[in-house]
């Protein structure tokens, strides 16, 4: 036999199995026999038969071995469960704190995860979502280039017609306020939409009745949602019914959709064919390449298409059709468009913030769990010693401790689920979402709960499992309780408490800063009088009767002024490119914000003039050839004073600058005050502004309503207060602040529970010491200080850590999100520090006072 015969060794895996299952001596003696038979068989029957035989040998051992082991381990498991149960029950207080704080932590984590999941799932339910892209325009007239989803109406059809890579395209415009009439029912609907038939083909809509394939082909067809149908038609079949829109056009219902999910940009009440938009504003837009409004365009691209390549191809289509434009066209994946906005905004900020919040809450809860488990387990070292003496192997002890921790974390997870379920309605109110907790369908949530429970169990159980189980039984049983609670473990515990409190303090400071910024926004002087200013969205009726309505209104002493504008002051402005002015250098880009206003705008809103005069009824050129600019615009124009009478051009409108007004916040406080000019151009005017007296508001409003309904009887009257409307602009910050506040409270609560538990543990451990101290003449006050001191130091260290961290974090938040923001006062830190300190002291003092009040005789007898 030569050596090459031994090239094929017995297969590895069965050899490994045999080695694992047999004890070492048996393996050494017997595997040789197996090998010999293997080699013999290989020679006679080939290597395959031999390997097969070897495999069979290894598998033949398994049943007996497993049976034995299962039986034995089931006995042990029963024992472990029993011990774990007893431990939980014996120290009810500890277990309660332990489990409840973890349950609260897990529940808040779950709620936040639900929110995050809802945000991430935004518009992901469309079957073709992967291949849908949004068309974006890049305006290269400004620096840096600005991006928007607004496109002109002919673009989408042109893309489909000219580029074979683009399989389909659709236009969409949503969020329009439309007057709807059916029989006696007459309502303003806030969420009307315009869309092409192709929209129904590209995106996924669930039709309850009607045909998806031709629902929006007829120009006077309308597709409604289930809720909308219920509102107007009760139980009748809506298909075929005729609705009147805008008091002008009749539409026949061709389909009813299942209510679209709330986390979708297509959460409209009804949709009518896109061409109706032209009809609504009385302008033929079908081939107008220069008219941008809130029109969105979507394209469907072939699965293998590369959108970047297609973007490059279609880039110039806008400029080719519109000489004045410097807009480049591109595509952006539809799926990402919600999370990642165009100019660096987007829901992703909220998602990250809240995920971090969830993580923090969970960390705090886990730390409690760890701290209390380790604190408790050091008292169990005698049990460990005894188990070891009785023959428990180290692995068994590790398993036991891990198992116990896991049992508790699963109980907590279960409680958290119930808690979450109970809190969900409140939470939905708070977050303005419609979240559901459906474990059976929400696999990700289910897995993450299980995963978190297991992870928490492992982390919390790992210290007692690995550290304590490695002790030598002799040492454990010999030494006394006090010296046994190792230095390293109490150091670890202290560090964890510091982490916990640092996070809590950071959360306190953060929520205070958010709150302060909201206050700042509310009280910020925008430069004009936003109080007692009503605005009415102008419908065709008001536009028609504007002058007579205005004159009637001014007859009432409660009405101080009436005017109109193209955009809501303090919220947004229109913008215009292609501008020119006297002495404009070539390298300055001619692009500015603009707002068309009524003649009395400046007195109605209360703007101060630095130079020149407001628009005047007497001067006819003011109606079409006059401009008023703000201070920032003055800087941009780089004109020498006096600027009045200098010439200025906007599009085809040539005229003179007649005045300069002080800077006011024409947009939200998120952004800078941009260069802005005002001009009179009634076509753009969309909002009627009414300044009223602060006294007797309700009767004034009744009067205003009366006038509108008499002079404009076809439309219901609808108004808003400007200051309230401006506040809604900051709703997302407000919601952030609210949610942040509640989760901060929860996080602090959990930390306190933990501290309470730890304090009672310390008090218990030092019962004898306290007894001796008291017997030797120490006062109760001294004892309280003794126990509180330890925790006080920890809270102070936490403050030192938390202050700079939260300062950096919140400064960044303010800088990133608001051009105009509050400063972070030093007193916020002091308040947060004192708050944390007080809370910590309160939770500790209960235990320490109880310990201090105890009769030394009882505590000395304590064993």
């Amino acid at each position: 036999m030569n050596s090459t015969d031994f090239k094929d060794k017995p297969p590895r895996i069965p050899e490994w199995i045999i080695k694992k299952l047999l004890i070492e001596r048996e393996f050494n003696e017997r595997s040789g026999d197996l090998d010999e038979v293997f080699y013999n068989m290989k020679k006679l029957k080939g290597v395959k038969r031999a390997s097969l035989w070897y495999w069979m040998q290894s598998l033949a051992i398994l049943p007996g071995f497993l049976g034995d082991n299962l039986y034995r381990s089931s006995i042990m498991l029963k024992n472990y469960l029993k011990i774990a149960g007893r431990n939980i029950l014996r120290q009810k207080g500890f277990s309660f704190i332990n489990i409840s704080s973890l349950a609260i932590g897990l529940a808040s984590c779950m709620l936040i995860l639900l929110w995050v999941q809802d945000e991430i799932d935004y518009d992901r339910h469309h079957e073709k979502a992967d291949n849908i892209y949004r068309v974006i325009t890049e305006n290269r007239n400004v620096d840096p280039y600005s991006h928007s989803y607004s496109v002109c109406t002919p673009l989408a059809p042109a893309l489909k017609a000219n580029y074979p890579e683009i399989l389909n395209s659709a236009r969409f415009r949503g969020g329009d306020k439309v007057l709807v009439k059916y029989g006696d029912i007459r309502n303003f609907e806030l969420n009307g939409a315009f869309g092409d038939q192709t929209l129904l083909e590209i995106f996924t809509f669930e039709f309850i009745s009607g045909e998806q394939s031709n629902a929006l082909i007829d120009p006077f067809s309308i597709v409604i949602t289930r809720d909308f149908a219920d509102k107007y038609f009760d139980n009748d079949n809506p298909v075929g019914k005729v609705l009147n829109l805008k008091d002008k056009f009749n539409y026949t219902v061709t389909g009813v959709l299942e209510n679209p999910p709330q986390n979708s940009m297509f959460a409209f009440d009804f949709v009518i064919p896109f061409e109706n938009y032209s009809r609504f504003i009385n302008q033929d837009l079908s081939s107008n390449w220069g008219w941008y409004s809130a029109f969105n365009a979507f394209v469907l691209v072939h699965e293998n298409g590369d959108y970047r390549e297609i973007s490059r191809k279609i880039e110039g289509i806008q400029m080719a059709n519109d000489q004045n434009s410097n807009n480049h066209i591109g595509l952006k994946p539809f799926k990402d468009s919600y999370l990642y906005g165009l100019n660096g905004e987007g829901a992703i900020t909220g998602v990250i913030t809240f995920s971090a919040l969830a993580a923090f809450t969970l960390i705090i809860a886990c730390i409690n769990f760890m701290n209390l488990s380790t604190a408790r387990s050091s008292r169990r070292s005698i049990e460990i010693g005894l188990r070891k003496v009785a023959g428990a192997r180290k692995n068994h002890l590790i398993l036991q401790f891990l198992g116990e921790a896991m049992l508790m974390s699963f109980i907590a997870a279960f409680l958290a689920l119930i808690l979450c379920f109970l809190l969900l309605p409140v939470y939905n109110d708070l977050s303005g979402k419609q979240l559901e907790l459906d474990i059976s369908r929400n696999i990700i949530l289910f897995l993450s709960i299980c995963g978190t429970a297991i992870l928490t169990g492992i982390i919390a159980g790992s210290y007692p499992a690995f550290y304590l189980s490695s002790f030598q039984p002799v040492k454990i049983l010999k030494t006394t309780i006090i010296t046994r609670s190792g230095k390293s473990s109490s150091l670890l515990r202290r560090m964890l408490v510091i982490t916990q409190f640092s996070i809590s303090i950071i959360l306190i400071i953060s929520s205070m800063v958010v709150y302060r910024q909201l206050e700042y926004i509310r009280n910020k002087d925008l430069g004009f009088e936003k109080e007692h200013l009503l605005y009415v969205e102008m419908n065709d009726g008001i536009k028609e009767h504007y002058e007579s309505i205005k004159n009637e209104l001014l007859n009432n002493p409660g009405v101080l002024g009436v005017s109109k504008s193209s955009s809501i002051p303090g919220l947004w402005t229109n913008s215009a490119g292609d501008l020119d002015w006297e002495g404009k250098p070539d390298d300055v880009r001619g692009s500015m914000d603009f707002r068309s206003v009524g003649l009395d705008y400046f007195s109605t809103v209360g703007l101060e003039f630095i130079e020149g005069r407001p628009f005047s009824k007497e001067i006819t050129t003011d109606m079409s050839q006059a401009f008023i600019i703000n201070e920032t615009a003055l800087e941009l124009l780089q004109m020498e004073s006096p600027v009045v009478e200098k010439s200025f051009r906007m599009w085809q409108r040539r005229g003179k600058i007649i005045g300069v007004v002080k800077n006011v916040h024409t947009r939200s406080l998120h952004s800078d005050i941009n260069p802005l000019f005002y001009t009179v151009w009634p076509y753009f005017d969309n909002y009627e502004l009414i300044k009223i007296n602060s006294g007797n508001i309700s009767s004034t409003i009744d009067y205003i309503k009366d006038i509108h309904e008499t002079l404009n009887p076809n439309y219901p009257f609808d108004y808003s207060f400007l200051d309230e409307r401006i506040e809604t602009r900051y709703n997302s910050e407000k919601k952030l602040g609210e949610i942040f506040k509640y989760f901060t409270i929860l996080a602090i609560l959990i930390s306190c529970l933990g501290l309470f538990g730890l304090a009672s543990f310390t008090a218990q451990r030092r019962t004898k010491e306290i007894g001796i101290r008291k017997a030797l003449g120490s006062s109760s006050g001294n004892i309280v200080t003794l126990i509180s001191k330890e925790f006080t130091v920890l809270v102070i260290i936490s403050n030192i850590i938390a202050w700079p961290v939260s300062y950096v974090m919140m400064t960044k938040w303010l800088d990133d999100n608001f051009v105009y923001h509050t400063d972070i006062g030093i007193y916020l830190f002091i308040i947060a520090g004192i708050a944390a300190f007080t809370i910590a002291l309160l939770s500790v003092s209960f235990q320490s006072i109880r310990a201090a009040m105890q009769n030394p005789v009882t505590s000395l007898r304590y064993e």
Binding site: N28, G32, D35, N40
Partner: protein, 106 residues
């Protein structure tokens, strides 16, 4: 004293028959030759373990050989007690069998 079991008896007999060359594989092979049946290793080791415990056989270490994947052979050798036990079971067997007429029948 208990009598040897059937499998222990077979082990001892096979070990005697194989003289110096009695180890796992050869014992299994010899049993196959004598009885025509292949025993699993487990059914060989089990009686061998028992016999070792009762000191009826002794284990001897051999040298590692390449045909065993570089592992040692463990030879089995019968002890005096083993021989006595074997003699005893032989005597018992003879008296059990004596006086039995024809088994196969007519």
């Amino acid at each position: 004293m208990n009598l040897l079991s059937r499998s222990e008896e077979i082990m001892l007999l096979t070990i005697l028959k194989l003289k110096e060359n009695a180890y796992g594989v050869s014992i299994r092979e010899q049993i196959r030759i004598d009885s025509g049946k292949t025993w699993s290793f487990a059914s060989i080791y089990q009686p061998l373990d028992k016999l070792t415990k009762k000191d009826f056989v002794r284990k001897l270490k051999g040298e590692p050989t390449p045909e065993r994947g570089g592992k040692r052979k463990y030879y089995y050798e019968i002890t005096q007690e083993g021989r006595n036990a074997l003699l005893e079971i032989k005597k018992a067997n003879e008296s059990f069998w004596s006086g039995i007429p024809e088994i196969a029948g007519k």
